[in-house]
């Protein structure tokens, strides 16, 4: 299973991938490496896990920035869109597929997904196109993620520590003058009604027979 997500500005979903072409980057080493990584990641997919790579978030009309293209000897700064690969995974620590760009880049591009088979949330590991030092940041989400209009939106998980519904608990004492004494319990014996049960047991212990 390959999940590929894109930002609202990158809605052009084609099959399992979202790709907005950027001519200078299409044939760059970074793009080629990202494509190889994507193919390798997809080949490693297993039904019980989600591992997806977005290697084609080539355009970023929201945050265009200038970077020096590798191999440019003249040092000319050109306007390029970033190649933003995302590695989505369940569990473990994500690793960076690419190096973080030297320039600042909004990390809020982290998108998140959901394994539709297991319903578990996946986190996104954003990494930049090239340049700078290798660095990866892992975003972990716990909770369902819904698809909204072709996009995936994170849904806050429901509280997991809701109190248990209280169920009535009663103790009825059935005893005759002779013979064994009987305590009839009605309801679950839990922490909430523990004192009631302990008191009943203590009362029976005080009986001399």
């Amino acid at each position: 299973m390959v999940l590929v997500f894109c930002e609202p500005a990158e809605r052009s979903l084609r099959g399992h991938s979202s790709r907005l072409h950027s001519a200078p980057w299409e044939h760059s080493r970074a793009a080629a490496f990202a494509r190889r990584e994507s193919a390798r990641e997809r080949s490693e997919l297993r039904p019980d896990s989600v591992s997806a790579v977005v290697t084609s978030g080539l355009s970023n009309p929201v945050y265009p920035r200038s970077y020096n293209k590798p191999g440019d000897n003249n040092g000319e700064r050109r306007q390029y869109d970033l190649l933003i690969p995302h590695r989505l995974q369940i569990g473990g620590v994500g690793r960076s597929l690419r190096r973080k760009p030297s320039g600042t880049y909004p990390d809020d591009r982290c998108l998140n997904g959901l394994d539709s088979a297991t319903g578990r949330a996946v986190g996104a590991v954003p990494s930049g196109a090239y340049g700078g030092r290798a660095r990866a940041s892992t975003l972990r989400l716990h909770g369902p993620i819904r698809s909204m209009g072709g996009l995936l939106a994170y849904k806050s998980p429901a509280p997991y520590n809701l109190p248990m519904p209280a169920e009535p608990f009663e103790i009825e004492r059935l005893s005759a003058q002779e013979g064994p004494r009987v305590l009839c319990l009605r309801g679950p014996l839990t922490l909430e009604n523990l004192p009631q049960f302990q008191n009943a047991i203590r009362r029976e212990e005080n009986v001399p027979w």
Partner: protein, 75 residues
């Protein structure tokens, strides 16, 4: 002898199990016993899992428990 009828007890959590074991220990020190009746499968599975099943005299129904313990007392 005390019989605790669990016919209407759907489940027991760990604290409830601990209280039963505590009651067993207390009565055991006083050379008394505690019997359980009407234990459903869920609770019985809990007893088996936690290895406390041998501690208690367990009877299928309350009538069986009363009959058995009355007979034993008379004998």
């Amino acid at each position: 002898m005390v019989i605790v009828d669990l016919s209407d007890v759907p489940y027991i959590d760990s604290s409830g199990l601990g209280s039963l074991v505590s009651a067993y220990v207390t009565r055991r020190k006083a050379t008394r016993h505690i019997a359980l009746s009407g234990v459903n499968e869920r609770v019985l599975k809990l007893f088996e899992t936690t290895k406390v099943e041998p501690l208690f005299l367990i009877f299928p129904t309350l009538d069986d428990a009363i009959a058995a313990l009355t007979t034993a007392a008379e004998a």
